[in-house]
């Protein structure tokens, strides 16, 4: 171990005050600088922040973007979600594995390039997409990808690769991303023009309880998908006793097929910051955290700049807008590739520098959240709604949408439709109207709310998008007549197996069993009884899992068994011949090689 290495690691720890609760920042910086968090690095970090070494390893091995193994200087991460698979993932994978001469998960011998895949990076409307280090590239063709590789081989860094910048703030020098906003319809809440600061000033002229009352009057519900009433959550957090309180923005948009928060963060960060400050005022918090998913690291410099601008104009900092006693500031916490961190208690664990394991509830975050302090975790879009409600009035907001679901909703629409992108629509809109807007006529199935939601067919197209009917955090994946829906379901199950934190039995084991049995059916080896098996197992996982991930992960199977049962029925047959559940020759392989002879009893 070189002295420079040791000095560098120790100074990274010192950079966050040797605070083990900032472990995510430390290991992310080590990973970025050295291409891995090696055994040596873990020893040094543990020593420097005074924590057991295994605690550091526990964090490093949890997140997909961190590795003990040495990565190349340039890491390609091909986005492997179902939409990318439909639009050319295999083509890109084939081209790049051939070009670099390595497989997925490998690094070139010269240590320059690593190749990985990653689940949805929030670019389904412009698939196929990939990350090269922190940079995002979308609608990538085989030729463009090979051109990137050529430039990189010539010594150009990923940030300097020639690319066509996207619209709006994607072209801002601090973003400079080849990402398009694809805003298709602008509603009155999120994308309407905005006078910065007016909502916050209005809030500060009221008492915190009056602010919460307005949010309740507006009947605002959480935009992440679960739909918990925001005003009630704030009430609990305000009422809870704690020396400090926290507001956390969940910008860990990881549900495959969802990308609307990406567009808000790019085009409406002022609205978000204002909403968070209003939340801080309402619940009595001085500190806010934006938990930004690792995939959106490209937005970080821009967001930091927006936060700084907000400080400069008095929207953040001490005595905000001259209001004595109200101090509030926001820091950004980066994630590192873990879907489960979108679950609010897992997100809090991650903010605390731990593995992204969800926590036991109760206590709820409103009572004991971040470091044990009362904490309100809300979605990006929810904060934006808050700011608009304060600005335009609760009555105005509650007129939009339907009775139980007020306001507008951002939908992220992708797949087999002519106009993929972000749509701001009033709640209560019919699914068929949305499909019409997006040019998704002829869809045989729509996945509402991402893998954790449900797959519906034409008989449900007259249903409405709202909390009481088709509830959604915003993802809507459209599948045309040529798609194999069971392959979609299979992809979703693969995703959940991969992304389960592994804490509880049903989610860790049950999802893998569900996937295995689905594979058997897809191979034509299933029996009718396998459908009952899937249902029974699915219900067990749903009912006994510890957090929202496991409680929804069987949905792809359960909802297609309900809505698309013939797809399964045509594949299963009575009177299947005897099926070995394992390969005896393979199982005996090691013993045979030790014995130096074939098995006497189980001849090939």
């Amino acid at each position: 171990m070189s002295e420079n290495f040791e000095t560098a690691i120790r100074s990274m720890c010192e950079g966050v005050g040797n605070d083990k609760a900032r472990m995510m920042d430390i290991v992310r910086e080590v990973q970025e600088t050295f291409g891995c968090v090696s055994d040596d690095a873990m020893d040094l970090i543990a020593d420097q922040v005074r924590t057991p070494r295994v605690e550091v390893e526990s964090v490093v091995t949890f997140y997909a973007f961190l590795s003990k193994k040495q990565n190349g200087t340039v890491v390609f991460r091909l986005c492997d979600d179902i939409i990318d698979r439909m639009f050319g993932f295999e083509r890109l994978k084939h081209a790049i594995t051939e070009e670099l001469g390595i497989d997925i998960g490998e690094t070139t011998a010269d240590g320059r390039f690593s190749l990985e895949t990653t689940p949805c990076i929030g670019m389904c409307d412009q698939a196929p997409a990939l990350m090269i280090n922190d940079e995002i590239f979308t609608e990538v063709s085989r030729d463009t990808l090979l051109d990137y590789v050529e430039q990189l081989k010539a010594g150009i860094t990923p940030e300097r690769l020639r690319r066509r910048l996207g619209d709006g703030n994607n072209s801002n020098p601090l973003v400079s991303a080849a990402v398009s906003n694809n805003i298709r319809t602008r509603g009155e809440v999120i994308f309407a023009p905005l006078e910065c600061g007016r909502a916050l000033k209005k809030a500060l002229s009221m008492s915190p309880n009056e602010v919460i009352r307005d949010i309740k009057t507006a009947r605002l519900r959480g935009r992440g998908g679960a739909g918990f009433p925001t005003g009630m959550k704030w009430d609990f957090t305000r009422a809870a006793r704690g020396e400090r309180k926290f507001v956390i923005c969940n910008a860990d948009e990881g549900e495959p097929g969802t990308f609307k928060d990406r567009v808000i963060l790019t085009e409406r960060p002022e609205l978000l910051i204002e909403g968070m400050a209003i939340a801080g005022y309402a619940i009595g918090a001085q500190e806010g955290i934006i938990y930004l998913r690792g995939e959106y690291a490209y937005l970080r410099p821009f967001l930091e700049d927006m936060l700084q601008k907000a400080r400069n104009t008095g929207m953040l900092g001490k005595a905000i807008f001259g209001k004595q006693g109200f101090d509030f500031d926001i820091r950004i916490q980066m994630g590192a590739g873990a879907y489960v961190c979108g679950e609010e208690t897992a997100l809090i664990s991650s903010c605390e520098g731990l593995r992204g394991d969800p926590k036991n509830r109760p206590p709820f975050p409103a009572q004991k959240g971040y470091h044990g302090y009362p904490t309100s975790v809300n979605n990006v879009e929810t904060f934006c709604c808050v700011a608009r409600i304060l600005d335009q009035g609760a009555g105005w907001f509650s007129q939009i949408g339907s009775k139980g679901s007020t306001g507008t909703k951002l939908l992220s629409i992708s797949g087999d439709c002519r106009r993929p992108g972000v749509y701001e629509v009033p709640f209560g809109i019919k699914l068929c109207e949305v499909l019409e807007m997006a040019g998704g006529n002829g869809a045989v199935a729509v996945q509402i709310g991402g893998p954790s939601g449900q797959m519906v067919g034409p008989k449900d197209y007259n249903r409405t998008i709202c909390y009481d009917d088709l509830a959604t955090g915003g993802a809507m994946m459209v599948f045309g007549p040529n798609r194999n829906l069971l392959e979609v379901v299979h992809y979703f199950m693969e995703f959940f197996v991969e992304e389960s934190c592994g804490y509880c039995t049903p989610c860790r084991v049950g999802n893998a069993l569900l996937k295995d049995r689905l594979e058997r059916i897809m191979e034509g080896k299933g029996e009718p009884a396998d459908l009952d098996y899937l249902e029974d197992l699915g219900v067990t996982v749903k009912s006994t899992s510890r957090c929202g991930l496991g409680q929804t992960s069987p949905n792809p199977i359960l909802s297609t068994l309900k809505n698309f049962r013939p797809l399964y029925e045509q594949l299963v047959h009575e009177d299947q011949p005897f099926q070995a559940t394992f390969d005896i020759q393979k199982a005996l392989g090691e013993a045979k090689s030790i014995a130096g002879r074939p098995s006497m009893h189980f001849a090939e």
Partner: protein, 237 residues
């Protein structure tokens, strides 16, 4: 009756609890056994095995973490919940490589005893036969056999909270998740000692003492005569 008593119902039986108690603690005191694997008296609840799942006012909750509340209706010994429990125990069996007939822990193993109590003769799920489970026999008095680990975190909690050592922690995620030791690789390089509580609390044959295997003859082992949970049920007044 003190005013701090909380009265609620488990399977139609009135049960008294105290503020701050979990449903499991109150049930134990009342002589009602709720099956469990990760929960262990004296350790903070972990809520991971999910075997203690009960239905509280119609919602499934782990009874080791759910506090008692006045008037709640708890379902414990119902066919719906027993089926979930059998499924969960089945999952733990097929997930690892458990070989009861040769295991030193046989007869004293909580997983095995629970399977017997729930009437499981063979798992209904296919065995996964994981090939990535290793054995660490580096320590002179203790060994870890990951084949038999059920990821209950008792050793993690006991080492941290009772032994004050932090010898164990989880690493990895999802199917890769496993127990690691506070060293680069081997148990012998940690502070663990054979007298540690962390070694004692393992419900299965994953962390075992060397030199004492099969010391108790068949017929005198912990669960040879009375099923797991009998001690709790004996509390019933």
């Amino acid at each position: 009756m003190s005013e701090n008593t909380i009265t609620f119902e488990i399977d139609g039986v009135e049960v008294q609890g105290a503020p701050g108690q979990t449903i499991m603690q109150a049930a134990d005191a009342a002589g009602i056994y709720i099956p469990r694997l990760c929960a262990f008296e004296g350790l903070p609840p972990h809520g991971s095995c999910r075997i203690c799942t009960v239905k509280v006012n119609g919602r499934f909750q782990s009874s080791c973490t759910q506090p008692v509340a006045e008037g709640i209706i708890v379902e414990n010994d119902t066919e719906e919940i027993l089926e979930f429990r059998r499924n969960l125990v089945d999952m733990l069996f097929v997930e690892g490589n458990h070989f009861c007939m040769f295991c030193e822990k046989s007869g004293n193993c909580e997983l095995q005893a629970l399977a017997y109590r729930l009437g499981i003769t063979a798992p209904k799920y296919p065995f996964m036969f994981p090939a990535n489970r290793t054995v660490d026999a580096s320590h002179k008095d203790i060994f870890i056999d990951h084949n038999r680990c059920i990821l209950c975190a008792r050793c993690i909690r006991a080492s941290r909270d009772l032994d004050g050592k932090n010898v164990f922690q989880f690493v990895g995620r999802g199917p890769e998740k496993h127990i690691a030791v506070n060293a680069r690789a081997r148990l012998v390089d940690t502070e663990v000692d054979v007298t540690d509580k962390a070694v004692e609390v393992c419900p299965v044959g994953a962390i075992l003492r060397k030199h004492v295997g099969y010391a108790i003859p068949v017929g005198k082992r912990k669960y040879d005569h009375a099923p797991i949970g009998s001690d709790i049920e004996a509390q019933k007044h």
